[in-house]
């Protein structure tokens, strides 16, 4: 079998986990090869230089040889752009994007548009927060072929039913799956600003994604809730618990 050699492709690490005794299994996202699994041999030894670079949210140039499902990493270089350093809860937003890609993309499916959207979403996480997540989810669904169809003639004063895969139809405001025209227009034009619009957009997209994620929920979201709860539980010292 011929082994394709790929040189210095732009890439993001989505996840790197221990693999055999001294290696790492790197799940990476590239524009022309999509999501790929690469074995970084010896990356967990003391003298490994690539290990420091093989971090999420850091733009990289990867070289590898392709053979079957898993490739072998042959080179790592930092791309000139700086790595994103997310503080606090923002890192969970970044992990959330990674988890979506890990769960929803098939290996070796090229997604150049999504690759660009991922970089833009990471850059927008600190300034625009949730809005960046919703925008990425819209692009992701469209790239997977399940785009949300929001026609240009929505009326901001009406309410609409939304069902996955169908165009929204006007309906009652209090029904389930009902969204205000204003929210849908804001979502369509990437103009989500108000808390209500953001919350409604999250509800809509969560429903749309759930259809493709199967029964297992996203662990990033669950864990963030757990952490928030565990911090809230802290009694102040001296208050008698």
């Amino acid at each position: 079998m011929s082994r394709a050699r790929i040189q210095l492709q732009p890439a993001w690490v989505l996840k790197a986990s221990a693999y055999s005794d001294t290696s790492l299994l790197v799940e990476a996202f590239t524009p022309s090869h999509g999501r790929i699994g690469l074995v970084a041999r010896g990356a967990r030894t003391a003298k490994s230089r690539p290990r420091a670079l093989l971090q999420a949210f850091r733009p990289l140039l990867l070289s590898w040889t392709e053979a079957g499902d898993l490739g072998t990493l042959t080179g790592v270089e930092a791309s000139p752009a700086a790595a994103f350093e997310f503080r606090g809860e923002t890192v969970f937003s970044g992990w959330y994007l990674n988890e979506l890609l890990l769960r929803l993309l098939q290996r070796h499916d090229a997604h150049p548009v999504l690759f660009e959207a991922y970089g833009e979403a990471l850059a927008a996480l600190i300034p625009t927060g949730e809005r960046a997540l919703r925008r990425f989810e819209m692009t992701l669904l469209a790239e997977l072929g399940f785009g949300i169809d929001l026609p240009p003639d929505l009326d901001p004063s009406l309410h609409y039913f939304h069902r996955n895969g169908e165009e929204p139809v006007p309906g009652a405001a209090d029904a389930e799956d009902s969204y205000s025209g204003r929210t849908l227009i804001a979502l369509r034009d990437d103009q989500l600003e108000t808390v209500e619009d953001l919350r409604a957009a999250r509800r809509l997209l969560r429903g749309a994604l759930a259809e493709h994620l199967g029964t297992k929920g996203l662990s990033t979201a669950t864990m963030l809730r757990d952490l928030r709860r565990s911090l809230e539980r802290v009694p102040t010292p001296g208050s008698g618990s």
């Binding site: 989505l14 996840k15 986990s17 005794d21 001294t22 420091a52 670079l53 971090q55 999420a56 949210f57 850091r58 930092a78 700086a82 790595a83 350093e85 997310f86 503080r87 606090g88 890192v91 969970f92 992990w95 990674n98 988890e99 890990l102 662990s219 990033t220 669950t222 864990m223 963030l224 757990d226 952490l227 565990s230 911090l231 802290v234 009694p235 102040t236 010292p237």
Partner: protein, 199 residues
Amino acid sequence: MNNYSPRLSRLIEALRKLPGVGPKSAQRMAFHLLDRDRAAAEKLAAALGDALGGIGRCKTCRMFCEDEACRYCTPARRAGGQLCVVETPADLMALEAGTSYRGRYFVLMGRLSPLDGIGPAELGLSVLQEVLLEGDVQEMIVATNPTVEGEATAYYLAEMAKAAKVKVSRIAHGVPMGGELEYVDGGTLTHALSGRTPA
């Protein structure tokens, strides 16, 4: 495939569970123990059984410990009022061997990583919270690794310490001893520069 007798193949399979041991080395180890050094084999079997029965986890620092009183949670270490949080037992050993720090520890046994399913429960954060609320700790030193996951963990540890009104510090990261700036990556240099100390 292999023609080992049942007991021998069980031994070889068991030896293969050790890190870095493949089928060939496992066979060599098994033959050595059975043929050349049966006394050592007996010693190994006894030591393994003894260790499994006698070594547990300390309830307050989560490090391996033998007796009821953990050697890293002594009253003398408590008196200093410092608590150092590390990811693994190996990190604790490195700090003990390489530094003069002789305070208490807390071993997380991992770091926050939702994509691997490691969260607050796996890291024993509720145990740490209780330790912080006891009031003995004046300063918590966060010594998680400078990776994305390690930094996220450090952030949550700091939030916990602040909520418990405990002073919190983070170990410095930057240019290694004997290193050369030319060969240090940009991220590390950025940290080294932003975390500079008055000389």
